[in-house]
């Protein structure tokens, strides 16, 4: 009897492979589903409901009108120039002194395009979701050149108040205002605390004193576009060509 049970058990074990069974993957098929409108899960939709309502109310408000589509690209970057223009204008107001330039790290631009037409609050949150603060640092021309070389090596970042070209991963023909960069001069640079604290491998900025008024970059964008709206104007399209690539 006992033996019989043991026999049945081991037979079951062999069938189910519960002991000493080894498997190897021999073949793999692959596919990808485009997740798109169609059947939705009502349970998950319901779970989202209360959050959706709260987010939808404040975020769907139209705050301004975009004159022409602002695409993100690199190095010449209309979306980035729009952002740095906003930082330059707002930093002058918030810090009480005009910065020479503003810079925007490419990785911090989180959508691919702001289409022409009504601009919703939600889009500004999606463009700049991080709670990064706008800070001012003062750099010598030499330090600024080193920063721009680093930036050029990463493909180039948007600038306002100046221009540069990229050749062999270096920044060349750097213009601040309408003047060539002077290595002994001192420049006020508006950028994010993320970058100023060494983000995107900007180790050369660590330890450089920062002026910080606790002003979010996103709030700078919001305040900037609202001023255009209040003036009854569309948000203007920045001129292209501030950052360009030279043949190697």
């Amino acid at each position: 009897m006992g033996l019989r049970v043991l026999y049945i058990l081991s037979a079951v074990c062999v069938l189910l492979g519960c002991a000493g069974s080894y498997y190897q993957p021999g073949r793999v098929a692959h596919g990808r589903y485009d997740v798109k409108a169609g059947r939705i899960d009502s349970g998950v939709q319901a779970l989202l409901g209360p959050y959706q309502q709260a987010v939808g109310g404040s975020m769907e408000a139209v705050v301004a009108e975009i004159a022409a589509s602002l695409p993100k690209s690199q190095p010449d970057n209309l979306l980035g120039y729009f952002m740095t223009d906003a930082f330059l204008v707002q930093a002058a107001k918030v810090f009480g002194q005009q910065p020479d330039i503003a810079l925007m790290n490419q990785g911090g631009i989180r959508i691919n395009n702001l289409p022409a037409g009504p601009l919703k609050m939600r889009q500004l949150y999606e463009l700049m979701p991080f709670d990064n603060q706008l800070v001012i640092i003062v750099l010598t021309g030499e330090q600024l050149q080193a920063l721009l070389n680093h930036v050029a090596g990463r493909g180039g970042w948007a600038i306002s108040g100046g221009s540069y070209q990229i050749k062999n991963k270096q920044a060349v023909n750097v213009q601040i205002g309408k003047q060539p960069l002077q290595s002994a001069a001192r420049y006020r640079v508006a950028l994010s605390d993320y970058t100023a604290n060494g983000g995107d491998d900007c180790a050369m900025l660590v330890g450089v004193p920062q002026e910080n008024k606790g002003y979010l970059q996103r709030d700078a964008l919001i305040d900037y576009v609202k001023q255009w709206a209040a003036a009854g104007k569309q948000v203007p399209t920045p001129a292209a060509g501030r950052v360009t690539l030279l043949p190697q």
């Binding site: 080894y22 498997y23 993957p25 098929a29 692959h30 990808r32």
Partner: protein
């Protein structure tokens, strides 16, 4: 979709109804595992807005949940995984710090996730707190969270049993210094992802005798700088890992990429963009092997797109 359906689909796609002999002979002993995966969803709970942009109408957790539910109905053995950057990117995160993202993932039945750099964005204490909404583990093998709010809240690996299969899942996170503000990662210690992945995979293979070893990675698919660690360089330097499910670089791979590892064996890498626009799927067919052959290296045949 049952196994038979899957096999006939694949043979149709291959342009023939003749299945390879071994597949027919082994079918009784074969196991079929479906791996579903996402990465860099970035708080995209709603579909992309209808504003004329490239991704309009795509994504959304309610549509993804329905898709996953359907696949679960058609398949017995499913693993649902995410490769990090769950957080940050829409006002949901600004207002709720990840709570609805986590609740939605729990409702979809995720089995595991790893951590991306943006999952640190509202602080490690916030990430740790949001874990109250989920039952699945966070798997990271190369962050030492001692003396951080995440201490004891992440696993270096987890073994999943699906039918007769044992699937080992490990995870690797990206270097935080220079990417995540120091204050946000605090005392987290980043350890060499290659060393940690290999050490963990060795354990999963030789001690636990896992039939498949999956690495969730937030290292990024590939970089121009040759010496920067990525999924491609990890794969090449790895041993005992079968599959790397990647993230961070938002790469839409049209098909999984094969890379030869340190032992000359094939490792697959897959990544499905970002924003929950795409749900990735890999269907593995396992055959039973002798204990002796289990340790021998083996190739993997990647079929044409067949499962959809």
């Amino acid at each position: 979709m049952n196994r038979r359906y899957f096999l006939s689909q694949s043979s149709l796609a291959a342009g023939t109804l003749l299945l390879p002999g071994w597949a027919l002979a082994a079918e009784a002993e074969a196991e079929h595992l479906v791996i579903l995966h996402t990465n860099d969803v970035h708080s995209r709970l709603d579909p992309f807005p209808m504003d004329g942009s490239r991704n309009q109408g795509m994504g959304g957790v309610a549509a993804r949940a329905a898709l996953i539910e359907q696949i679960r109905k058609e398949n017995t053995h499913v693993l649902l995984l995410d490769a990090g950057d769950i957080f940050q990117g829409t006002p949901y995160f600004n207002l709720y710090k990840g709570e609805p993202e986590m609740k939605a993932m729990q409702a979809m039945g995720y089995d595991a996730c790893t951590m991306g750099n943006h999952d640190f964005d509202a602080g490690l204490d916030n990430f740790a707190a949001q874990l109250q909404h989920v039952k699945f583990p966070v798997i990271v093998s190369n962050y030492d969270f001692s003396n951080t709010p995440m201490e004891g809240k992440a696993l270096p690996y987890k073994i999943f049993r699906r039918g007769r299969l044992k699937i080992g899942v490990l995870g690797v996170g990206i270097e935080l210094k220079g990417l995540v503000p120091d204050a946000l990662f605090g005392n987290t210690v980043y350890q060499d992802p290659v060393a940690k992945a290999n050490e963990t995979a060795y354990y999963l293979k030789y001690r636990e005798k896992c039939d498949l070893i999956v690495c969730l990675s937030h290292l990024g698919y590939s970089y121009r700088e040759g010496n920067r660690i990525s999924d491609k360089s990890l794969a090449a330097a790895s041993e005992n890992i079968d599959l790397i499910i990647g993230g961070h670089t938002h790469t839409f791979l049209p098909e999984p990429e094969k890379v030869r590892n340190k032992k000359g064996e094939e490792v697959l890498i897959n990544q499905v963009g970002w924003g929950g626009i795409v749900l990735g799927r890999l269907d593995y067919i396992f055959s039973k092997v002798s204990k002796k052959n289990f340790w021998k290296s083996h190739g993997i045949e990647v079929e044409k797109k067949t499962v959809l």
